[in-house]
């Protein structure tokens, strides 16, 4: 009996291994770039992910899950810009292949898909990986594999560690600076009023609150409430905000939770002035979310009406037909990505893709991975951004400033000038005197 049992176990174990092998072998469907064509002979496969005809980059994006509303439009927008560049000569003749995988805003999945992109799909760089908690699950792996980790879609100042994470660069305004700029506005415009904070309980929300605390006197702050992105029941927090008697609520939240905050406040007849960080305030995304959430609850609301008067900050130009970037991006939108709404998230995806193409052009004809990092550390022109980038060998944060905007009828209207600052608690907030760049006629940056 003992022997037959052992035989059985042996058979089972061998089978187990065989299946592992079979499953793994059958699926090596990695799509490597096409072979060299008749293009310039000077183009070489200068780095992993670069062939004479292609540059393959990858990303992790929340295409489904709690962060998907709004943010799922970003990667298709970037891809639309890359398609536009590919159709107009590419980057030194190479076409950009952008492979973005869904991580559903779940860190375990992020860890897995980023390994797939690096180890199997052999990407040149990870581009615009979205989310603070998610990207934290990938950042040390990317740096130990020496894969450029450029323009993370998160304003956590944790990306700015050039010695620990030499491969990693931020892009958007960091949350501390954003908190300072919003905080200064609140302290100046709502003197003597009661202010409360509502924030996501992670680096994103806590960095924002840090910036707010630098500028808003603690005597004004009556309550601080946080939420976690996996729990949509924020009724207790909203009740606490209401009970605190707050007249102004500053919110560092993703769009779905900004909408929930607004709706739960409405239910309680609580109507404070809302000040919302850039990432959670796109009026078109919010309006759609407000209407669909209300519909689920059996109510009808007018989304644009509810976002009226909301205060936010913005580091990209306003969506206005008089802006050269808007005209350019709308043209690309209508040609390559007309199914997605033309909103702030679309603008974000386009702009970050523009910055990436700029960096690739600056990195040279046959760039190694290090060439890209060096190009960024030498500084990049601000492109569509309203303020300059801070890139240097000691600073891996992105844009340095933003303007305050007020939402009216679904559009952010600029109030006052562009303000710049840094993450330091003592650094001043100054008015930016430089002017905005105009979009190039070709739509493609020049090296």
């Amino acid at each position: 009996m003992k022997k037959s049992q052992r035989l059985r176990w042996q058979a089972m174990a061998i089978l187990a291994v065989a299946v592992l092998g079979a499953a793994a072998c059958s699926s090596s469907s990695s799509s490597s770039g096409s072979s060299a064509s008749s293009s310039s002979a000077a183009l070489t496969a200068s780095a992993p992910g670069i062939t004479p005809t292609t540059i393959t980059i990858g990303s992790h994006q929340p295409l489904t899950g709690p962060a998907a509303p709004g943010y799922s439009e970003i990667a298709p927008a970037s891809n639309a810009y890359f398609q536009y560049v590919n159709a107009h000569g590419g980057v030194y003749g190479r076409k950009i292949v952008y492979k973005y995988l869904n991580d559903a805003y779940d860190p375990t999945t992020t860890a897995s898909v980023v390994r797939q992109l690096v180890l199997q799909d052999n990407i040149y760089a990870l581009f615009n990986g979205l989310g603070t908690p998610t990207h934290l699950a990938a950042v040390s792996f990317l740096n130990s594999e020496k894969v450029p980790d450029v323009f993370v879609a998160s304003g956590c100042d944790c990306w700015n560690q050039p010695t620990t994470y030499p491969e990693t660069f931020g892009w958007q305004l960091d949350y501390i600076s954003e908190g300072k700029i919003l905080g200064q506005y609140v302290a100046q415009h709502f003197k003597g009023k009661k202010v409360a904070f509502f924030y996501q309980d992670d680096e994103f929300g806590m960095d924002g609150v840090k910036g707010l605390d630098y500028e808003i006197p603690s005597s004004m702050v009556v309550s601080k409430q946080s939420y976690v992105d996996t729990n949509v029941n924020i009724a207790p927090q909203v009740a606490a905000l209401r009970a605190s008697g707050a007249q102004v609520v500053v919110s560092f939240s993703i769009p779905a939770f900004t909408a929930l905050l607004k709706l739960d406040s409405l239910k309680l007849g609580f109507n404070p002035t809302l000040v919302v960080s850039d990432v959670g305030s796109d009026p078109i995304t919010l309006s759609g979310l407000l209407e669909s959430f209300a519909k689920q609850g059996g109510a009808t609301v007018n989304g644009n009406q509810l976002t009226n008067g909301m205060i936010t900050d913005e580091y990209l130009p306003a969506l206005s037909t008089s802006d050269s970037w808007y005209v350019l991006f709308k043209k690309i939108h209508d040609q390559y990505d007309a199914k997605e709404p033309l909103d702030g998230n679309f603008f974000y995806g386009m702009s970050v893709a523009y910055t990436f193409v700029q960096a690739m052009l600056n990195a040279g004809r046959n760039p190694t991975r290090t060439d890209l990092l060096t190009a960024i550390e030498h500084g990049l022109p601000q492109g569509p951004m309203v303020a300059p980038f801070a890139y240097s060998s000691t600073n891996h944060l992105g844009v340095t400033g933003a303007y305050i905007g007020v939402v009216q009828n679904g559009v952010v209207t600029q109030q006052g000038s562009v303000l710049t600052t840094t993450t330091s608690p003592t650094s001043p907030i100054t008015t930016y005197t430089g002017s905005e760049e105009q979009a190039p006629a070709s739509g493609i940056p020049s090296p």
Partner: protein, 348 residues
């Protein structure tokens, strides 16, 4: 024998690409957790909707030991197993008094509440972003040895050890007692089996497996965060156990293969067909759901049950197929009953 198996995996891991190595490691983690759950549910007849909580205990124990005490990972694994054994015993004592929906409810509560502790003590557990650990391949393997291969080796080895131990446990007196308790606890008690002790024992075994799986997950993904142990993970474990075939250890492997590999493939399929993003983004989830429904329709006893039936039909019901079939069963009653009627594996 396990050594030979480990050697085969080692060869495979060298032949395959690094991402395949990582997937082997992921599968091994899943097998470890699912094997524990399939023993709990299939053999002792209890249900747990909260095994991800035990994974979290194992993961955080490992992460804290690696970060603060710089322990070697194998010691951390042992301690993680011990810590979850204690937790499993505590929960098991409560669980032994509950049945059916009440037990499901209690374990569900555990699964929801326990990972949230990480948010309450962010200084210790790192809050939402969790703890980052550094895991490296040992120096004697050389500097160019891929980390993912080492991770695949370690996790496969642990998974195999767990499977060997569980297979032995299953055939021992303890395993027979579990089945007796599962089929009729009154009759089992009349036969002199300590029903409560048997149930607690099953809970401890399943918790230790989950804890080891959590510890392995920490060293392969090099981090432990509350997002890794949500209630969906607990449900996925149960899904894998049911899809594979409840109570069957090979079934734990089938189930793990399905839940680790299928979502990756359907994502690749969806993204390569140029669908609009709002449709394409949700196709993997829909396809996964359809697949689960199909498997349950075609193989009501899970993949392992289905395979056993297919092989039985192919070789004829009265041949001694089981002596040569590569899919041995672990339920002794099948020695007397024809394979096709082997339907007693349920939680009832």
């Amino acid at each position: 024998m396990a050594i030979i198996v480990a050697a085969i995996v080692a060869v495979l891991s060298i032949k395959l690409g690094q991402f395949r190595d990582y997937q082997i490691a992921e599968i091994a983690v899943e097998v470890t957790a699912v094997a524990g759950l399939t023993v709990l549910t299939g053999l002792s007849g209890q249900i747990s909707l909260g095994n991800a909580a035990f994974m979290a205990i194992g993961a955080y124990t490992t992460a804290l030991l690696l970060i603060h005490l710089n322990w070697p990972f194998y010691l951390a694994l042992v301690i993680a197993g011990a810590a979850t054994a204690v937790a499993g015993a505590v929960v098991g004592i409560a669980a032994a008094r509950l049945r059916g929906p009440y037990l499901a409810g209690a374990t569900l509560m555990l699964g929801v509440a326990l990972p949230a502790i990480a948010y309450v003590y962010p200084a210790t557990f790192g809050g939402d972003q969790g703890l980052n650990v550094t895991f490296t391949a040992p120096a004697f393997l050389g500097v160019n040895f891929p980390l993912t291969r080492w991770q695949a080796w370690v996790s496969t080895l642990v998974a195999l050890i767990v499977l060997v131990l569980l297979a032995n446990l299953d055939r021992s007196r303890i395993g027979r007692n579990w089945r007796a308790v599962r089929d009729d606890d009154v009759a089992a008690a009349l036969d002199g089996i300590n029903v409560a002790a048997a149930r607690v024992r099953a809970f401890v075994v399943s918790a230790v497996c989950a804890g080891l799986a959590g510890a392995l997950l920490t060293i392969i993904s090099e981090q432990a965060g509350p997002g890794d142990f949500t209630i969906t993970v607990s449900i996925a474990l149960l899904t894998a156990a049911v899809i594979g075939g409840l109570g069957s250890l090979p079934g734990a492997l089938w189930g793990s293969l399905v839940i680790v590999l299928v979502p990756t493939y359907v994502t690749d399929m969806a993204s390569s067909h140029g669908l609009s993003s709002s449709v394409g983004n949700n196709i993997p989830i829909a396809a996964y759901g359809v697949l689960l429904i199909l498997v349950m329709l075609v193989f009501p006893q899970g993949i392992q049950g289905g395979l056993r039936r297919l092989i039985g039909a192919f070789l004829g019901p009265n041949t001694k197929s089981r002596r040569i079939a590569p899919t041995p069963h672990v339920t002794p009653s099948a020695d007397q009953a024809p394979a096709s009627q082997h339907e007693k594996e349920g939680t009832s």
